[in-house]
């Protein structure tokens, strides 16, 4: 047994949520199976089931990740699945996004809230002697989509190293091509890691090769930051739940609970309430059941104000002078519903904890899924992404998604079916 893993300086013990993106045959299921297997997250009875299905052949690790009977019948995975494993350093949550049917829908779902994306590159599908070396369209697509959704760390796992004649040459060539592509697209790459998911090389155990000394995939994942909203600067809290102390009379002080989007809050702070426009002073702050001195971004805080104001779920608490409301904004829209988006139709949208009616005022363009360049189009169907202008029935304090996920994200819900039809990433307000 080799030496214990080096301990990277993990400051934040939150779990790392990462999504895995890859197409059929890229070896994604095998890679996830390998991470789970090597970290002993696969338990004996599950292995028993696999052995039965393998019927004497070697165990297929990829079978560990297809969950539903309906999918096994079709031999494909159709929905995002969540997997868990832990190392000495960290707990990990994998959002496994299947890479073909319903592809955009699954990847958008997995990417929202992920701290990192692992994009699989099948090295056997690339002609490393071509000049210039061409990456596969799905590799570009996966990386661009993760970038569009502002997944903080993007990692390329160059897989099937066991299946090429000269792994050093092949890897170096593909790495250079990936770097050139990322630079051109403005993607900051957290790592390019050679692996063989099938053999386990460089997944959990560092690669034993003269040409590669950098970390294994697992070591890199252990060292990546969990995304955090900023704790300094102005405060923003979407009010999630208004609690009365005791029950009945309605005269007791009320606690306004909400997870802090950015900034921090402490007793004595003057705050602005949206949409009422009133101001108040924070009398005390709670976390869980106890009073605390202050609370910061990422924590759910209970705020008690110094006066009785009419505050409801869906309102916002903010530093005075920092809230900019609008009823019209531009956004990137990922359409997730089999019924196409209809311009002018009334939908429900959820922003923070507030539901308002809204409509798509215009569809400006659709994004080419391979390049993310705009195509002239005024319709959006399932799995398509476009630039749109949204009009809401009431003003919302939207922020740019790139600056803050909480203030910059909305979902669109079809009022007839209640299906979640779209995901909106705000760019900014636009004039009517």
């Amino acid at each position: 047994m080799s030496a214990p893993l080096s301990a990277p300086a993990v400051q934040d013990h939150r779990a790392l949520r990462f999504l895995t993106a890859g197409s059929v045959d890229d070896g994604k299921s095998t890679l996830i199976g390998r991470l789970l297997y090597d970290s002993r997250a696969i338990l004996a009875d599950q292995l028993d089931t696999l052995e039965k299905r393998a019927a004497g052949a070697s165990i297929d690790l990829s079978l560990l990740t297809d969950g539903l009977e309906a999918e096994r019948e079709q031999g494909i995975t159709i929905d995002v699945a969540y997997r868990y494993f832990a190392t000495r350093q960290r707990k990990f949550i994998i959002a496994d996004a299947p890479g073909h049917e319903q592809y955009t829908r699954n990847m958008v779902t997995a990417a929202a809230g992920s701290d990192a994306a692992v994009v699989l590159v099948d090295i056997t599908k690339i002609d490393v002697h071509a000049k210039p070396v061409a990456l596969l369209p799905q590799t570009r697509r996966h990386a661009l989509l993760a970038h569009l959704l502002r997944v903080p760390s993007i990692v390329f796992a160059v897989n099937k190293l066991d299946a090429v004649d000269d792994p050093q040459l092949a890897f170096n060539t593909v790495r250079n091509a990936l770097q050139a592509f990322a630079e051109q697209a403005g993607i900051a790459v957290a790592g390019i890691i050679p692996v063989s998911a099938l053999r386990g090389d460089n997944v959990t155990q560092p690669l034993d090769a003269a040409w590669y000394q950098r970390p294994s995939l697992l070591q890199l994942l252990e060292s990546l930051p969990a995304s955090q909203e900023r704790k300094d600067g102005d405060l923003l809290i979407p009010v999630q739940y208004v609690a009365r102390e005791g029950e009945g009379t309605g005269n007791q002080p009320r606690t306004l609970w909400g997870r802090i989007a950015h900034g921090q809050v402490k007793a004595g702070d003057t705050v602005h309430l949206f949409p009422s426009g009133q101001q108040a002073v924070v009398a005390l702050v709670r976390v869980a059941g106890s009073e605390v001195e202050s609370a910061a971004a990422g924590q759910s805080a209970g705020v008690v104000l110094d006066r009785q104001l009419d505050v409801s779920r869906g309102d916002w608490i903010a530093t005075p002078g920092t809230v900019h409301e609008t009823t019209r904004f531009s956004a990137t829209l990922a359409w997730l519903d089999t019924e196409p988006a209809v311009i002018g139709r009334k939908y429900w949208v959820r922003h923070g904890n507030r539901w308002v009616q809204a409509r798509i005022a215009s569809i400006e363009s659709r994004l080419d899924i391979h390049t993310l360049g705009p195509i002239d189009a005024h319709e959006l169907a399932v799995n398509e992404i476009g630039h749109v202008v949204i009009e809401t029935q009431q003003p919302l304090p939207v922020e740019a998604y790139g600056a803050n996920r909480v203030g910059g994200s909305l979902i669109i819900v079809d009022p007839a079916s209640n299906r979640t039809s779209g995901a909106l990433l705000v760019q900014g307000p636009v004039a009517a």
Binding site: L5, H13, E69, R88, V108, T109, R259, G289, S300
Partner: protein, 319 residues
């Protein structure tokens, strides 16, 4: 170099700080549930997962007094579906905890469903686990609950790995795996039509190890069945079947006494203990770190019939 890492190398060295993050997420989901629905209830079986959710609910909705105890009342009742085949220790624990906490308890009795004729047993000792669904849906209808909080976790079983945190159930209480709503950021889509309801799972992202770490850290009371005790058992198909009035020995089987603990507590006809000397939560954590058989596999007779049995039951409206 391809050798798997050892358990000691890979599992976290009892670092519990990630529990704070899981706790924050669970409390967030609990408050979301109460804020977004009109008639919530918390499924409380006395099982360890529901005991964790109950403690998280206290943290979400009560305030701590000077003595460290929780003051106030939860904004929802507790709901238990009693198959009539529950272990007596668990029922005693349930009633004692509810009385201590001053909470409201609603019990849906499977016996009532049998009396009404909505459940028909093919023979008197048949496992009642699958029939719980009927009593559960009848309780939902009777009390008009629009959301049930449950302690299910995604790591328990493959069909649950794709379960949403807020999971929609149609007018027949059915789960439609292909109709699941994408769940983006924390912008939960909690909109339902009259007659439909949702299940909300605050500890979706916890593993069995997380649950035991939290039980130990928070000193959460559990039924005595969870800790090592001597019990009469029958060895059957690799499982230890507890000897009870509804699980008698088959011909030729030997009854023996073993030191065991339960890892889940369900219907007596389908829940088996494992041999273990672990007498408290910390010892169970140490054992869990070394465990090689997943929770449902070692202890549930009903799941062994088919790799897909959980998915079938979920579609029918099971927890």
């Amino acid at each position: 170099m391809n050798a798997a890492l050892t358990v000691e190398q890979l599992l976290p060295a009892l670092d519990q700080t990630h529990l704070d993050w899981l706790e924050e997420e669970a409390i967030f989901i609990l408050r979301e549930t109460v804020a977004a629905f009109e008639r919530p209830a918390l499924l409380f079986s006395g099982g360890k997962d529901s005991c964790v959710v109950l403690r998280l609910a206290e943290k979400a909705f009560k305030t701590r007094g000077a003595d460290g105890g929780f003051k106030g009342r939860l904004p929802f009742p507790l709901l238990h579906v009693d198959t009539g085949h529950n272990f007596p220790e668990v029922i005693e624990f349930r009633d004692r905890r509810v009385a201590e906490m001053g909470e409201r308890l609603v019990v849906g009795h499977l016996e009532d469903s049998i009396r009404r004729g909505t459940v028909r047993l093919s023979h008197p000792l048949e496992s009642r686990n699958g029939h719980q669904t009927v009593a559960l849906l009848e309780a939902i209808e009777e009390y008009r609950f629009d959301v049930l909080l449950g302690g299910a976790r995604r790591d328990e079983e493959k069909a649950r790995a794709k379960e949403r945190i807020f999971s929609h159930r149609d007018g027949f209480g059915q789960w439609q795996p292909k109709e699941q709503r994408p769940e983006l950021w924390t912008l939960f889509n909690t909109r339902i039509k009259p007659g439909e309801h949702m299940r909300a799972f605050p500890i979706s992202n916890w593993t069995e190890l997380d649950v035991w770490l939290y039980l130990a850290r928070e000193n959460i009371p559990l039924p005595s069945l969870y800790f090592a005790h001597d019990r009469q058992v029958i060895r059957r198909k690799g499982l230890l079947v507890p000897l009870t009035a509804v699980t008698p020995p088959e011909s030729g089987e030997q009854v023996e006494t073993a030191q065991v603990r339960f890892r889940t507590v369900g219907d007596m006809t389908c829940t088996c203990p494992v041999e273990s000397p672990a007498a408290n939560a910390t010892e169970i954590v140490a054992e869990t770190l070394k465990v090689t058989v997943s929770e449902r596999g070692a202890t549930r007779m009903d799941d062994r019939t088919s790799d897909a049995s959980m998915e079938r039951r979920k579609k029918e409206g099971y927890f």
